[in-house]
Symmetry: D2
Subunit: 493 residues, 4 copies
Amino acid sequence: MIKTGAQYRDDMERMKPSIYMMGEKVENYQKDPRFRSSFNLVALNHDICFDEKYRDLAVCHEPLVDEPVRRFTHKLQTTQEDSLKKAQLTRQVCRHHICGWCMSNSLCILWTLTHDIDRKYGTEYHQRFKEFAGFLMKNDYDCFWAMMNPKGDRSLKLDQQKQGSPGVKIVRKDKKGIVVRGAKVSNSYATCSLYTFAVPCTALTEGEKDYAVAFAVPSDEKGVHFIVRPAPNRDSSAPDHDMENPIGSEIGIVEGTVIFDDVFVPWERVFMCGEWDMAQQLPLLFSNIHRQSKCACLAGHSDLVCGVASLVADVNGTSRIGHIREKITQLMIEAEVAYGCSLGAAMEGSLHPGGIFIPSTAITNAGVTYIKKLTGEQIQLLHDVSGGIICTMPVEADYRNPVTKKWMDAYLFGSSKYTTEERLRALYLAQEIASSKFTGYFIGWGVNAAGSPAACDIFVRSHYDLKASVSVAREWAGIKEKKRPSQKANSER
Amino acid sequence: MIKTGAQYRDDMERMKPSIYMMGEKVENYQKDPRFRSSFNLVALNHDICFDEKYRDLAVCHEPLVDEPVRRFTHKLQTTQEDSLKKAQLTRQVCRHHICGWCMSNSLCILWTLTHDIDRKYGTEYHQRFKEFAGFLMKNDYDCFWAMMNPKGDRSLKLDQQKQGSPGVKIVRKDKKGIVVRGAKVSNSYATCSLYTFAVPCTALTEGEKDYAVAFAVPSDEKGVHFIVRPAPNRDSSAPDHDMENPIGSEIGIVEGTVIFDDVFVPWERVFMCGEWDMAQQLPLLFSNIHRQSKCACLAGHSDLVCGVASLVADVNGTSRIGHIREKITQLMIEAEVAYGCSLGAAMEGSLHPGGIFIPSTAITNAGVTYIKKLTGEQIQLLHDVSGGIICTMPVEADYRNPVTKKWMDAYLFGSSKYTTEERLRALYLAQEIASSKFTGYFIGWGVNAAGSPAACDIFVRSHYDLKASVSVAREWAGIKEKKRPSQKANSER
Amino acid sequence: MIKTGAQYRDDMERMKPSIYMMGEKVENYQKDPRFRSSFNLVALNHDICFDEKYRDLAVCHEPLVDEPVRRFTHKLQTTQEDSLKKAQLTRQVCRHHICGWCMSNSLCILWTLTHDIDRKYGTEYHQRFKEFAGFLMKNDYDCFWAMMNPKGDRSLKLDQQKQGSPGVKIVRKDKKGIVVRGAKVSNSYATCSLYTFAVPCTALTEGEKDYAVAFAVPSDEKGVHFIVRPAPNRDSSAPDHDMENPIGSEIGIVEGTVIFDDVFVPWERVFMCGEWDMAQQLPLLFSNIHRQSKCACLAGHSDLVCGVASLVADVNGTSRIGHIREKITQLMIEAEVAYGCSLGAAMEGSLHPGGIFIPSTAITNAGVTYIKKLTGEQIQLLHDVSGGIICTMPVEADYRNPVTKKWMDAYLFGSSKYTTEERLRALYLAQEIASSKFTGYFIGWGVNAAGSPAACDIFVRSHYDLKASVSVAREWAGIKEKKRPSQKANSER
Amino acid sequence: MIKTGAQYRDDMERMKPSIYMMGEKVENYQKDPRFRSSFNLVALNHDICFDEKYRDLAVCHEPLVDEPVRRFTHKLQTTQEDSLKKAQLTRQVCRHHICGWCMSNSLCILWTLTHDIDRKYGTEYHQRFKEFAGFLMKNDYDCFWAMMNPKGDRSLKLDQQKQGSPGVKIVRKDKKGIVVRGAKVSNSYATCSLYTFAVPCTALTEGEKDYAVAFAVPSDEKGVHFIVRPAPNRDSSAPDHDMENPIGSEIGIVEGTVIFDDVFVPWERVFMCGEWDMAQQLPLLFSNIHRQSKCACLAGHSDLVCGVASLVADVNGTSRIGHIREKITQLMIEAEVAYGCSLGAAMEGSLHPGGIFIPSTAITNAGVTYIKKLTGEQIQLLHDVSGGIICTMPVEADYRNPVTKKWMDAYLFGSSKYTTEERLRALYLAQEIASSKFTGYFIGWGVNAAGSPAACDIFVRSHYDLKASVSVAREWAGIKEKKRPSQKANSER
């Protein structure tokens, strides 16, 4: 049963997680204004299912439970069409709401991982996972995804670190379940869901087998603690913000660190436990399934920057100037290229034996690394199109003070198609995106969310069909293939 | 009936076109060595249909004639699948043979154009075109595409030029047909086919209505003259070229100017005649149907450069050096992004009422302009990876002279995985692509074939859904849409 | 007499300007914490003159007053050496303190402008200006520079605007002086000095002659009002900031709008009054004198980003990874190229008849537009090198809470060369630059301060010696120069 | 005594070197047309000294011989002014004649190297070199520079190679001199001078000490053999070339491999012999002295491309179109930035104890790597501005055939400011630069001459003052410097 945003909020009411924010323990976080924008965004991702503008893409039937589910959250993507519709929905939503929280990708990853572990080791993770996934779907529960380890000293393995133990590891096992300890960082939406998944984030060695663990726990389980930072929403030092932070006042994403302080997990929610050689599957599945979403997501962000740039040019009366038009066109090109790659990746996808449709790793990662590397430049273009005024103009509160409003109306007008207030509104929006606390998050979601550009480059290198291209070169050059097992250029990091 | 390369050559034997090359009239061009590489390439595009490596993609059934046809040449693309398979075949072939001569795109364009003219004007062009297309298909005849006008003085319309009359225009009409006069430039494969299509290349005004003409003529029709330049194949000043020009020695594309010196065309081969307001359809249809091919084509060219760079790095023993690997990865990314866009454009395509499947104009042009702008840099990267030696080393003839061969063997070896000759072969191949007469054509096919980057930018600008992006910006900014008919930023050049 | 920072603060004590900030009138701004960082920065620019690390460059002798002056503030640049030393000092200071407030550039601009007006019109502005400049020098008074007009509707001239009157104009003249009305925007350091300069910012037409006015007034003159926004310093919503905003806690730049509400200016401080045809000198002199500084300034900013990226890579233990090293090298290259151009511009400079040394307009603007267009990408690189953690990690206050500090120490350590606190300090610094309110200002100072990239491009186009390059092309092509007055490609916008 | 081009040719008359070209031994190369363009270019570099347009920069007084010398060839650069004038002359000449053959750089390098070896080892190389340099100066002899080793297997040292012995080594020593054996590759102007220098090209290990050898020999010394390839001048397959290859018909640079087949060198021309630890000086001195020239040289090449693009836009009538103008402006910016860095490098230079003025390594290499990476894109821009026609139009011979000339005149005209022939001349010039055999050389001179971009990057990395930038970061972050000898990030490759 798909729940509305209001029903999601009701579900969250009963949670009593251990949360720390800005140096203090948070009580009654459901009412704390610093969480408001994040709850709003999750609720919005429920509500789009009841909004005719999105419904056709946002809602779909899921055979596992034989019910309609939210595509972003619970769809097991088993066909090319699933993959395409996800991309379409992602661009559309991210253009508007920044993020669609596409956690169905996690279900697909764990579905495939548990399938493969069972096939190799005769374990029963897959059935367990099916049941847990069905449970989430039937209750329309969100579930956030804790994957990223703190890295510690990167020249050392997890089990060789000297200053501590980054990552989450199994410290005990018994008949009922396991006990885990450690931390996960860079967790978007931490505290915003009833359940928390944790999974490995890199390939592991045998010595690191205790870190080969995947599981789910209620977010208020004993021993689970969150250190969360507020989304870049209201800047509380300013008295009024209807115009100045329109996006952040409404929606946002808390970012958190999760501590597992000897947390017990019963076997029915353990999905990997010691199969260290299978851990490499996780970054691989992440690299195609989740980055295909990221590719469409950043197309949407490019659309947003493009739309804002175009609106600002219009209020400034500069939209016909050649270089302004070229810069806006550049943003269009970037949006379309990223989106094209997200769709194209679906076209070259293939079905995994476990049933999940896997988009092309090479196209996905090429598209994502292309657009990730442009996120800073896009902000620069928005400054360029908007002018220095987005860093220097009087703030909204000055426009609400009649003394200064009079001057602002007299001097800060722009194109005669707009009122001064309309011009200011457009400039404040540009300011929020390009010159506010929001800016850094916006760039960060581009550059590092779903993996760094360098990580994407590595997956292009390892999945591009270099052999085919070199064969053509050898054929033209008249150089025969070597018998020797050379040509490993593309298999190394 | 699909014909082999040999059968294609047989067909061409009977032609007696009027050809000028390098200052002289050419007799018996079928035997002239300067045409050899071009005939080879066309023949190859026949022969791949009999090669198991390509056949599944290269041959398909065409309902119009209820026969198998060559996909590149005669397939009317009516489904998304057609569009995708064309893209796949294009990358694969262009990676290897530079060009697949995808003239089925022209058939699709004329199919759609004639359909639309008839619908508006009640004319009968479409039926005529169907018959002519069926005739080409049944005989497996190639047909080259003369579209580009000489531009004359670009600040003046075609009918206002003072120094002459660039473009092809109707000079007479009667019951039997029309007489046309003028020139078309930048015609790849001119002289390599039995028939020649000519069509407008830009939107026209009423005063230019005589230039609104589309037709086909036999390539040796009276009054048709070709001024052709040889493909960059053998450099005749050098004695021996097995190693030095491996690509150009085999395949190439003659480029020609076609003169229509009062040529009569009977009505059955006239497909547009004066409908000046419909001429704008041509660049538009070209921009999506043909550039989707170009996008995949340049992915293939990127593959070729990548394969050569990788082979050269291997023979030089530098393939594990960080910056070399990054540069080769960059080429991979570029190939995958362009290919992703070609596939993605198919995904967002739609069916034209005339029956042709039209890929997304915005994605196609974004992908194409992206990769076109990188063609020079790709050549720079190949110089960078290969080293200065590709411009300075002894030529092949020196390697055939025992005196100098001895020194070359002693000093010019590379990685121990390869013989000196193998290293030289790889370097000569890199030289052909990056530092020979071939280089300029290779860049030219990238930058200007199928339209300049600026032309592609314009189509992104006019087809990107700017309204949607600006709506989002307006909504966040709290600025209502205006009633006034403003917001035309995207409809102008 | 060069004053210390403390003496500067003493001077400011007596000011009683009319200031509005965040919706309210500000009383006793000398004590208001929101002005603290800006006063600090100005004071620092005094104190470097007493710091042996900077003194040799920062202090110099000024013949006009035959006294030592602060180079940044009061040096009339009359030799190539002046121009070079200014560039050296600028990079060094901006690498560290973001901004050196190089207002001596304004003195040079007004020196030259008044000289030229007098020569043409026989006026006496130059002598007046000399006296006023000497007065500033002798008292070591800072003086901020109000140049930028609000643009209004950009398709209309200043005197044709319909919604109001952007820009500052003369409304009355009499024997004693003039009365001015209007506004200037984007004024860095507004309110931080005893005096305020105002000058035109674009070429003017005869109809706009009332806007051709340059003058100085005490910053607390009757009728002068400031609407100022605080520098991005403390984010008051957070309890503690020693680690999180190290730069903004110390230094900053208030940005303000200045309203001239019928302000009287006596003739001795009027430096231009109606000579509309001379207004074009201002953007031109600004484009070389001030942008040469900007070029070195942004080299310094690139150094800062490079230093932070390198430090973060070191605390993360990633400084030997190939792609990290390449990215840091890229930042080095950008810093050196911008700095090289700033120095190179001095080398190709020339002496204006009025005595000021003018650096090369073409080199200056080429260097500046190069580095301006990279400011967004530099922030992206810092995200890339630092990792997602700079947007997601616990805040400083969490590190001061013993409960969460324990976990942070246990899990958030990095390279064993550093303590966890040291690592956090480095990451917080990266966060301030790349993901805080500071970020937008930092990009803004890059993109738009001292003129937009497009403005710089125009000055390259108008000052590059295109005639020489085209002559070479003509000579090789064998095309004679035309007599006709063509070839104006570079003289238009 | 400075010699004219004619006197240079007279000097060359008596040479009888052993030359192989295109598979054959060349007799009487002084008359061989394939050497003509190279002799022309060297002669031109003599003749500019008698041309008032260049003379002031091209001729200067050299204290060593107390005579005027050619700056490019024989000036020992001992002051900042020398360094600046060299840069000015280089841009001016390379804009026009592609190359000024700045071999004075070699004299400066060997001057410094011999000085430093003597100081360390008490040897007498410096005095010998002084005498030889004086001899060259007094006779105005050119002397080409053989530096680049064939690289062999790059994972192995020179003394560990298995397939042969790349590089030049000492095989015998006696009282009279030494005997050397080996090869040098990528030697521009090989065979065009009376003498040949050979020097190491990389740092060496003790095991490679036999390769630590620098010397000069007459170019027709016994045992010296050249394998030379013709400059990309006339394409002999075409009948007439006044219009089509204007540059290559006049000037060019033969590129050669030099074989030292047990060549005897008397001690008076030996300048290094076994001091392996000093070999690293060579790439270092090369990196600043010679690359400062390269930076100005590529500014000149950018000017040439810019001038041709501008001329072509004018003949095409497109010079006012926005995107065309932006592309030409981009070329201007690139030229000015590279030139600015060349001048700026001189500004930050310093005097070596041996007396040579050394420009800034960091600025030089930053400027060079910037412009080198753009050489491919510049060619792409020229294609873009020119249009596809430069790869497809009728050739010059067709314009000389009255039949085809008539059609070309009728259809291939452009802007009415030019005749059709003038338009063709401009297009043929663009073709030579962007789409002919010349193109590859032109890119190659950009990318690899004077070192690859990667080599330049390494020198930026090793000479940028990273310590200063990191200190600033540490200070802001509040992290003290470590005592430990860490922070070596910039000292490794």
